[in-house]
Structures are given as structure tokens and as C-alpha cells.
């Protein structure tokens, strides 16, 4: 008699643990592969996970294998050979290697990473630098803490120790007869021969029994529950200002680069930090705060006044984000062009208003593909920021002119730093 069993409903993912072990072991290889793959892809696709290829070498499981020497083989399908024929080695005729899938033919190993695995590996070693100000907020992060006992609560929280302790105290205080006393009495009754004494003992026993019935072993009064209090946990609040230049001097290519950079930043912050607000500011010669949809997809054109964006950021900080409570970050992307008259103002805003309250300020200068223009002379903004950085401001600057550079530069800017240095050159 056969047993027929339906296993289809059994929980899946039996191999999950082995898979995680494999990923952990191959982590550095996979991470490299993830970075390489993501350069070729759109940011939206990055979030979808996907296939990666790692060199098999690092994951190779060696075995003793024999190779070379004289070989003998029996093959099917002889058409014209007779004994004693010779076959040219370079030619066809069965000279092919046997054993496909062995050794060198598997030098690369392809497999599919899930969305989460991919993004986690991708963002693994990134963080917001210097997330120093932690403050208690009224928002979601609350923890539970033990806070003594209470007389009401859910059965799951009954504190047995405390309940029994109280019951014992009550029984002693009310002199509830013990079991041993009654047992002793019963024994004496059994041994007793004198009628009167026996009657007295029986009466005594009855009294004790009645009393022990009146005073319960455990009374609802004794029951205590463990009490928990919610306590707010300090969380680090942060705000990221995204300042993007959308003026006429920015070519489509440059805008594309800038948007990619911000998209990446957006993904990174949303995934890794719960308490990060993001403010999008775009500017031409005027600055406006916009929602993410407009920021990423809305068209705009005009002249360039960087100070307008800095001014807008300063005002928003003053209104909504008290620097003593918030960690403030900013990332600016621009082609580096700015009107000459504005340089002075922008520099002043930065040094006096913005940088003192900022934890970290990243500046990304986008250029035309080919990027040779960069070699000629630094742009006006670059010169300005470089001067500020040299005087010790928490400022990071990078230049980007190709799509494929976005990921490395992003990675570079937000890499986890060991010793909390503020701005790597």
C-alpha cells in the first residue's frame, strides 16, 4: 500500500539558509558584481534586483581531477572508419573533449538576486556621515520598558512569582490552616479512643476546614500583572536638501546626470533611514521648493543664480528645521556656471548661514560627456567651493561627466567612514 502525500503546501524556501550562507561567503564578489551591473542600468531597474555574474574561481570547490595522458573512448555512430584508420586531431571525427561542464567551461557563475538582496548589497557600506544630533521626538519610535506591577492586565502578563508571594502573605496574615495541621488532626482523631476528646477534635477539624474554605489559596486580590510602559526612544532626525540647477545652461545630458544622482540619493535615504525628510529645491535664477514628481520630471529653464537656492534652503531651515534638533545635509548638483555678480553672495550665504548648520554638504558638478572641458579651467562654483573647503568647511566635491561615473561617485560621497572625518577631499 502506497502513501501518497501532497507536499505542495509545505513551506517553501528550504534552501533559503543555504543561499544566505552562499551570499555571505561570496559577499565581496557579489558586491563587486552588483556595483558593476548597476552602472549599466537605470536606477529604477536597480531596485528590481536581477541577475549578476561572479567569477566562479572564488567559489570553486576543488576535487582531484585527472587530465591528459592517453585516452580511450568508445563512441556510437561509426559511419566509415575501419580498424587502423587515423583521424586528424584538429579535424572533426570524435576528437572533441568529453566531460562538458567540467573545469574551465564554468569560469563565470550567473545567478539571480532578489530585489532586497540586490539593494542591500548595493547600499551596504553607505551611510549619512556624522549623524550626531539625537533627540527625543513624539513620533513613532517607542520602546516598551518594564514598570513594576499592576492589578489588571492581560493573562499573558501574569507575574506568577509576585502573585504567589502575595497569596502566601495573605494566607499567613489571615491564619489559614495549613494542610499539615489538618492532617495531624485527622491522625489524632484516628488514634483517639476517648469519645469526648474525639468529638472536640472533630469539631476543631470542621472549624479549620470551614476556615480554609473561607480563605482561598489564591484570591483574585493577589493577582498581579507585569506592567509595561512605553518610552520614547531617541532617534536621529535628519533632513536632506536636494538643490538642483535646472537653468538653461544645463544640457539634457547634465540634467540626466543630476537626476540620476538624486534618484540614487532618494533611494538610499528612503531605504536606510526612517526619519529622514527630503526637501527638493530646484533653481534657475529663482528657487522654488517642489515635490519629488516635479523635481524629477518637471521641465524648467532660465538663468542661473545659485544664491537663490541657498537662500531658499536657509529660509526653510529657519522655518521648519531647527538646527539644534535636526541633522542637516545638502546635496547640490550644478554645471558650475553662476553669474559673476552672484559669487560673492553665494559664498557668504554658504559660509555664514548654510555650512555652520550643515552636517555635510555635497557638491556634484556635472559636465558634458567627454568631459575634456573640465581640464581647461575650473568653473566659478568649483573655485568658490574649493576655497571654502580649503578653509575647513564640511564640504565634499566631485565632478561627473559620464553616466557610469554616477555610482562610484555616489558611493564615494556616502561611504561609511571609520573615523568620522567630515569631508574627505
Amino acid at each position: 500500500m502506497a502513501h501518497i502525500i501532497d507536499r505542495r503546501l509545505n513551506p517553501g524556501g528550504k534552501s533559503l539558509e543555504n543561499r544566505q550562507r552562499f551570499l555571505r561567503r561570496a559577499k565581496s564578489l557579489v558586491q563587486g558584481a552588483v556595483k558593476k551591473t548597476s552602472q549599466e542600468r537605470d536606477i529604477k531597474d536597480v531596485l528590481e534586483g536581477g541577475e549578476v555574474t561572479i567569477p566562479l574561481d572564488g567559489m570553486h570547490e576543488p576535487r582531484f581531477r585527472r587530465e591528459g595522458g592517453t585516452r580511450d573512448m568508445v563512441l556510437p555512430g561509426n559511419k566509415k572508419f575501419i580498424e587502423g584508420d587515423y583521424l586528424q586531431r584538429s579535424g572533426q571525427g570524435g576528437a572533441k573533449d568529453s566531460g562538458p561542464g567540467e573545469g574551465d567551461s564554468e569560469d563565470a557563475f550567473r545567478f539571480v538576486l532578489s530585489r532586497d538582496e540586490f539593494v542591500d548589497l548595493f547600499l551596504d557600506d553607505l551611510e549619512l556621515p556624522d549623524l550626531a544630533k539625537r533627540k527625543i521626538t513624539q513620533t513613532e519610535s517607542e520602546g516598551l520598558q518594564r514598570a513594576g506591577y499592576t492589578t489588571s492586565g492581560s493573562p499573558a502578563n501574569i507575574s506568577v512569582n509576585r502573585t504567589v508571594q502575595l497569596a502566601l502573605a495573605r494566607r499567613i496574615a489571615l491564619r489559614r490552616p495549613r494542610k499539615s495541621e489538618m492532617d495531624e488532626l485527622e491522625a489524632r482523631i484516628a488514634e483517639c479512643t476517648d469519645e469526648d476528646e474525639r468529638a472536640a477534635l472533630v469539631a476543631e477539624l470542621e472549624r479549620l476546614k470551614a476556615k480554609s474554605k473561607r480563605i482561598p489559596f489564591i484570591d483574585p486580590l493577589d493577582i498581579r500583572y507585569r506592567r509595561f510602559e512605553t518610552v520614547p526612544k531617541p532617534v536621529a532626525q535628519a533632513v536632506m536638501f536636494c538643490l538642483m540647477d535646472v537653468s538653461g545652461s544645463m544640457s539634457e545630458h547634465m540634467k540626466d546626470l543630476a537626476k540620476r544622482f538624486y534618484m540614487l540619493l532618494y533611494v538610499f535615504l528612503k531605504r536606510r533611514y526612517k526619519h529622514v525628510e527630503i526637501v527638493f529645491i530646484r533653481h534657475t535664477d529663482r528657487a522654488e521648493e517642489v515635490d519629488e514628481q516635479t523635481f524629477f520630471y518637471g521641465p524648467a529653464s532660465g538663468g542661473t543664480l545659485v544664491s537663490s537656492a541657498l537662500q531658499a534652503m536657509h529660509e526653510i531651515v529657519r522655518e521648519r528645521f531647527n538646527p539644534s534638533d535636526w541633522n542637516i545635509y545638502a546635496a547640490q548638483a550644478s554645471d558650475g556656471d553662476n553669474s559673476y555678480s552672484d559669487g560673492e553672495l553665494a559664498g557668504m550665504l554658504l559660509t555664514e548661514k548654510i555650512l555652520p548648520v550643515c552636517q555635510f554638504f555635497a557638491y556634484l558638478e556635472v559636465g558634458e560627456s567627454g568631459g575634456s572641458a573640465f581640464d581647461l579651467s575650473d568653473s566659478s562654483l568649483w573655485t568658490l567651493y574649493e576655497r571654502l573647503r580649503n578653509s575647513g568647511a564640511p564640504l565634499s566635491m566631485r565632478k561627473v561627466s559620464e553616466r557610469s561615473e554616477i555610482f562610484p561617485v555616489f558611493h564615494d560621497l556616502f561611504q561609511r567612514r571609520e573615523n568620522q572625518e567630515k569631508a574627505a577631499p
Partner: protein, 514 residues
């Protein structure tokens, strides 16, 4: 329990009652017509994902955790998703009860085929073939795997994942050389094995006394006392089971590491018969499913349409491309096994003069299934091909033998073909191709200098000038040296004891205890 038409099913759909009917019908044919003797069957229906899971743990329903299984899983999953690889229709496990996994996608016809193939063909072979009887313990294997899984995870909890992984990596590298090739004194009893491990650990914990470590030992015996011969005898040398040797003699392994080596060794041993009987095992299963399906069709229990569907899958399975076909990748064990068994049936019932000359014992014996049952029980691939490959089949498959000597300038020589002069040579060569003794490198521990620098000396007996792949050999030896914890040298010698090459590997320093 069939309906009025006597059909087992109509169309492609099936449910669990259908499966039960199919199984009972197959069982009927298997027992009455073929006289098969099988373990009780346990048939499990699984999804594609579960099939992938099973692939990654060499088909077993449970296994200890190790990254290499995750690697295989990721690999299979990727190729399956891209459509590069189809999944097997079934997996069958040599255990009692015999577990067969059926894919839920299979049509009713395919389920019938698969039940006949796995639950009766393979099952009979597992239960009756002498290699499986000798080397595997079908009753105990699942319990033993369960024990192994728990033991490994306990070790991980006690000694750290990294340490356990290091030991298992090394053991896996040596797995193909962790096999006893010749039967020892007693049969394997995996259940007792599990109890023994528990008892030994308990005993060690009970009698542990740190004081003994500090007791001064007397002056060691002078080293000349042990002659080389005696020393080799004490260590049981030469020893070809490297894992066994390490488990028993490696000087600095912790008890749990020895136990891990033992687990890997037992599992390797469990799979050893399967690698020696690929042609026979698949041939048997294919022959059995073909017979059962034909009989069911004759009885009118499956329709002509379903039978055609079956024939299509069947011919795909037993397709043998010729050597110059781009699809060719060696002999297809299903095709060769099935062809040989049909041939044996022909020889037993309807022999020609040539067959009477070549197979006097079975030619015209009449009882084909009886002859086959005897073959299934008492042969492995090498001896099966060596004795039962008939000239007729060699002619039919147009087999020929190539001899490729790199020294030979003229090219590859055609050594023998399917003619009177060549039959025996072709057959001997094909049998040899299926002999694990020739396929695996012949490596054994020959000596160890216990009194001196404790170097372990291995020999690889080179056959036909085929030496070890250098990169892999070095890596495996590195693992071996890590377990042995002293230098290891591997010497490749040819038949005349001429040294062709010597590897020496020193152990890597053990990272500070985690």
C-alpha cells in the same frame, strides 16, 4: 476501482485518487508480470520550487546546511528561470519506504510513467542490487541525515560557523576519496552509527579530567623501535580512504571534527553505488516503465492517445545521438541500459546462432524477466557491459573505439570497430569506461613519519599518463594539509614507480580561535 471503461484516467488531469489508482495498477503489473520486489512506496507531489530545493541537496529531503548547496541552488534557479534547463520529472530516494517526488506539472500519463519508472523500476533496483545491499542502509538513511543535520548545527552553535565550514569544505574536497571500495567486516547500520556518536560524546564529557593533561609522561620510546613495516601496519597503511584515515589518525583534530569527517564519509559511501550503476539503474527503470506502460495499454487501461504521449517522452529519454552530432555528450545511460536490457530479453526468448555462441547461459532460456532479475541483482555497470553487451547491439549502435595517444603524430587511432575482430575489444573498453576504479584517480596514503616531522605521504598511481589537474590538486591538498595540520606531500608515480611529479603543501596557520 476503475470506472466502467476500465481506464485509469481520461485526458491529462489527475487528482490523488487517480494517483492511487495508477499506483495500484502499476503495482499489479510489476508484481505479477515482472515479479518485482520493492520497498513500500511513498509518493510525494511537489512544486517546481521544491524540486529545485531537492536538486541543491543532492535529491535528499533533508541535509545539513552548507554554502555549497546554496550555490547549487542559485545556479539551478537561474538556469531554470531562463529556460536553459528543464527539471526532472521525478526524483527517487534509496530509502525505505522508498520516496519518489513527482512534479505537480506532469500530466496523468507522465505521472503513470514516473510512478512505473521510479516507484517500481528504481525501487526494485535499490532493494535488490548487491551493491546497494552491501553499501547502503535504506532503513537508516533518513534518520542518519536528520542526525547529521542536527549534529552540524550543534557544532555550529558550539564551535562557530566559520570553524565548522572550514572542516566541511575540506571534507567535501576529499569526498570522492572518502569511500571504502572493498567491503569490510560488517554492513553499515546508520541507526547504530547515530547512537554511537551520542554515546561517545557523552562518555568523553563524563570522563573528562583536565588533570591528565598535566601528568608528566615518561621518556618517549626511541624511534628506531618501530620499523617502517610495523608503523605502516599500525596505521593501516596503505589506505585509500583519505577521510577515514584522517578521522582515525590526524593528530590534532577535535573530536567533533572527526565526527564531521565521518558524516561526510558515510554520505559519500551512501552515494557510491549510484555512481557505479548509472547505466543499470536507469536501464532497469526505463525497461520497467516500458513494460508496465505497454501492459497497461494492452489491458486498455490507458488510451491510445495517452500511450502516444508516453511513447514520445520515452523516445526522448532513450535518444542516443551519434558521436558527430552536436548534441552528443557521451553515452546516454538510459539509452544504453534500456537497449541492453531489451537485447537480453531478445536473447532469452528469441536467440540467433551468434547469441547462442556468445551467451550460452541465457540464450533461449525463455524466462526473460527471470534472467533480467538476476542481472539486476548481481551486476554493476562495468560487469554488466563487460558480459552482456552483444555483437548485435554493437553493430546496431555502430560502436567504435578510439585510442588517443598525445605522442602519436599521425592522430587518433581507430583501434577497433564493430566487426568480428573488434567486438571483444570494444566491449572491454566500454566496460572500462564505466569502471569507477578507472575513472577516479587512484590516490592512497602510503606513509607518515609520526616520530619525525609528521609529514603525510600520498601516492597517486598514474594510469595511462593521466595526471592530476594542477590547480585543483593543490587546492585539495591544501584542505588535506589543513586537516592533517602538518606537511602533506603527494607523489605521482607511474606503473614502474617512476616519480612523475611531487606536490608538497604546508597547512595554513589556524586563525586565532574565534
Amino acid at each position: 476501482m476503475t470506472d466502467k471503461t476500465g481506464r485509469l484516467f481520461e485526458g491529462a488531469d489527475w487528482d490523488f485518487l487517480t494517483l492511487q489508482r495508477i499506483h495500484d495498477a502499476c503495482e499489479d503489473v510489476a508484481k505479477k508480470e515482472l515479479g518485482l520486489d520493492v520497498y513500500p512506496n511513498q509518493i510525494e507531489v511537489i512544486t517546481a520550487e521544491q524540486m529545485l530545493d531537492a536538486y541543491s541537496s543532492v535529491g535528499m529531503p533533508l541535509f545539513y546546511k552548507h554554502w555549497s548547496f546554496g550555490k547549487h541552488f542559485a545556479f539551478h534557479e537561474a538556469s531554470y528561470r531562463k529556460g536553459l534547463m528543464g527539471l526532472a520529472y521525478e526524483i527517487v530516494i534509496n530509502s525505505s519506504p522508498c520516496i519518489s517526488y513527482l512534479m505537480e506539472e506532469n500530466t496523468a500519463t507522465m505521472q503513470t510513467l514516473v510512478i512505473a519508472h521510479a516507484a517500481f523500476g528504481h525501487n526494485h533496483f535499490f532493494k535488490n542490487n548487491y551493491l546497494f545491499k552491501q553499501w547502503t542502509d535504506a532503513d537508516g538513511i533518513l534518520d542518519y541525515l536528520d542526525f547529521a543535520k542536527n549534529y552540524v548545527s550543534q557544532c555550529e552553535a558550539r564551535y562557530g560557523r566559520v570553524e565548522v565550514e572550514r572542516t566541511l569544505d575540506a571534507a567535501h574536497a576529499l569526498m570522492s576519496h572518502g569511500i571504502d571500495r572493498y567491503p569490510g567486516k560488517k554492513n553499515i547500520d546508520l541507526r547504530a552509527e547515530e547512537k554511537r556518536a551520542g554515546r561517545r560524546r557523552q562518555h568523553e564529557e563524563e570522563v573528562f579530567n583536565d588533570l591528565w593533561r598535566t601528568v608528566p609522561t615518561g621518556p618517549s620510546k626511541s624511534r628506531s623501535v618501530l620499523s617502517i613495516e610495523r608503523r605502516r601496519k599500525l596505521l593501516g597503511l596503505p589506505q585509500e580512504n583519505l577521510l577515514y584515515f584522517l578521522e582515525k589518525s590526524a593528530p590534532r583534530l577535535a573530536p567533533w571534527q572527526r565526527e564531521l569527517l565521518r558524516i561526510v564519509r558515510h554520505i559519500a559511501q551512501y552515494f557510491y553505488p549510484q555512481s557505479q550503476t548509472k547505466v543499470m539503474n536507469e536501464g532497469t527503470a526505463t525497461y520497467v516503465h516500458y513494460r508496465i506502460m505497454s501492459t497497461l495499454h494492452k489491458q486498455g487501461r490507458i488510451t491510445d492517445g495517452n500511450f502516444l504521449e508516453f511513447l514520445q517522452s520515452h523516445t526522448n529519454v532513450v535518444f542516443q545521438p551519434e558521436f558527430d552530432d552536436p548534441r552528443f555528450s557521451g553515452f546516454n545511460p538510459y539509452a544504453l541500459g534500456f537497449a541492453m536490457m531489451q537485447d537480453i530479453e531478445r536473447i532469452a526468448t528469441n536467440p540467433e546462432a551468434e547469441d547462442r555462441e556468445w551467451f550460452p547461459d541465457i540464450a533461449g532460456k525463455g524466462d526473460a524477466t527471470g534472467v533480467l532479475r538476476d542481472v539486476w541483482a548481481n551486476y554493476r555497470d562495468e560487469s554488466f557491459i563487460g558480459q552482456f553487451l552483444s555483437p548485435r547491439l554493437m553493430r546496431h549502435l555502430r560502436m567504435f573505439h578510439l585510442h588517443d595517444d598525445p605522442e602519436e603524430r599521425a592522430g587518433i587511432r581507430v583501434d577497433a570497430i564493430h566487426d568480428e575482430r573488434g567486438f571483444r575489444r570494444v566491449r572491454r573498453e566500454l566496460a572500462r569506461q564505466h569502471d569507477v576504479g578507472f575513472i577516479d584517480a587512484n590516490i592512497e596514503v602510503v606513509d607518515v613519519d609520526l616520530a619525525g616531522d609528521r609529514r603525510l605521504i600520498l601516492h597517486h598511481h598514474v594510469i595511462k599518463g593521466s595526471q592530476l589537474n594542477e590547480t585543483d590538486a593543490k587546492r585539495v591538498l591544501q584542505h588535506l594539509a589543513d586537516l592533517w595540520t602538518y606537511d602533506v606531500s603527494l607523489i605521482e608515480v607511474d606503473a614502474n614507480d617512476k616519480v612523475l611529479r611531487e606536490y608538497v603543501v604546508s597547512p595554513r596557520p589556524i586563525p586565532a580561535a574565534a
